[in-house]
Symmetry: C2
Subunit: 234 residues, 2 copies
Amino acid sequence: MTAPRDARSAGDCRPGDARSVPEATVARLATYLRVLSTLADRSITTVSSEELATAAGVNSALLRKDLSFLGSYGIRGVGYEVGTLIEHISRTLGLTVHRAVALIGVGNLGQALAGYAGFASRGFRIAALVDADAGRIGSTIRGLTVRDIRDLDAIVAEHGITIAVLAVPAAAAQEVCNRLVRAGVTSILNFAPVVVSVPPHVDLRKVDLAAELQILSFHETRKAAAALTEVAQA
Amino acid sequence: MTAPRDARSAGDCRPGDARSVPEATVARLATYLRVLSTLADRSITTVSSEELATAAGVNSALLRKDLSFLGSYGIRGVGYEVGTLIEHISRTLGLTVHRAVALIGVGNLGQALAGYAGFASRGFRIAALVDADAGRIGSTIRGLTVRDIRDLDAIVAEHGITIAVLAVPAAAAQEVCNRLVRAGVTSILNFAPVVVSVPPHVDLRKVDLAAELQILSFHETRKAAAALTEVAQA
DNA sequence: TAGATTGTTAATCGATTAACAATC
DNA sequence: TAGATTGTTAATCGATTAACAATC
């Protein structure tokens, strides 16, 4: 049995308690879940840490450590039951309860996100589309009517929205963020290329598309320099 | 002067050498650069580590450490010159040389990426659009004709493409990845929700949109549990 | 039982932070 | 000079890995 780590004032952390799972592990759990789903689709019922780790692109020791945070669900000498793991990871990630997501900003990127099939297939349904542009408000995208951001409080309450995807222009992001927080949203996924700040009780993640390319550009430079060095040595 | 760390067979690493910059630092350099650009737009010429760190959402000690990997470009008692930093970060990230990017897959998400203004404004231009679907090949998106993936080798050679953005269905991603590598692409940004493998000389980054929501969902669960605990204590 | 594989430990590695001497 | 701020050190923290006892 795992000893409680990071125990706080509230008492012990049992395995599976959200508090006891490291951030880096949480991100990988999403990958494991995706891989496990494809195994289940192929009617594979048992998988070893070595097989699952290879499929997920990680070290098998890391995979076993990650899974150990959820509890002890493997069978020594055998492996893990695919169905059992899917169940426990889904519960840990909170995917067994319905979560209403609002998408704010239905411009170029927002429209693509509104139609992104990968959200629905992995447990998320966009419950509301919101924009500030009169030219977009009232239009229908994928069966959803774009609502006015001025009605945000009502929209959030209506659908019980806790998670928002922010796809507005950089200049508007902080202000929209503030509105979301005031309306009661407690998790925000920010696509706007700007640093936004939120109060401590709100979780914020960002996706910076241009930064991803810049990081790859750095590695291109690194590889080019390494190639030059090799030539110089020869 | 920074002592060389991670020196390899090729000899010393001077500051600014791509090899000497940690991965976590590289990712933040992109953010610093973005913030610095907005400062430059506002005609601000000098910034302290405290100010820049706050604007970038990081600890000022971390910012100074990050910048120290590029060299020693600050002025004690004063701060950093915005223009100087922009120049050095741009060079470190390899943004001073033109890099041709190909976008593979112009479906829902791919079309949005093709039109994403944030790429151009931060130094990247999509040089080619590629797809495998006959219904899309030959069509024009943002002034670019969608080309047939069967002509990939020629397209890569024609534009000197080294970076590819992969926005194809999960089922096709590995095969397309293989083709890209064979054609000479050495950096890939993967949006397909599947683990793809590439040879060691190729850099691969992934953006998993649904996983981002799942991570936020985890934190929603964590917060809900914490709230319950508080109630139980009262 | 013999073989296989988990769960856990301890070592290692890399990233972050606080503190402060150096110096503008 | 006095005040401010950098660049760097050393401590801390968190994440990863190898190894192996436990056990199916």
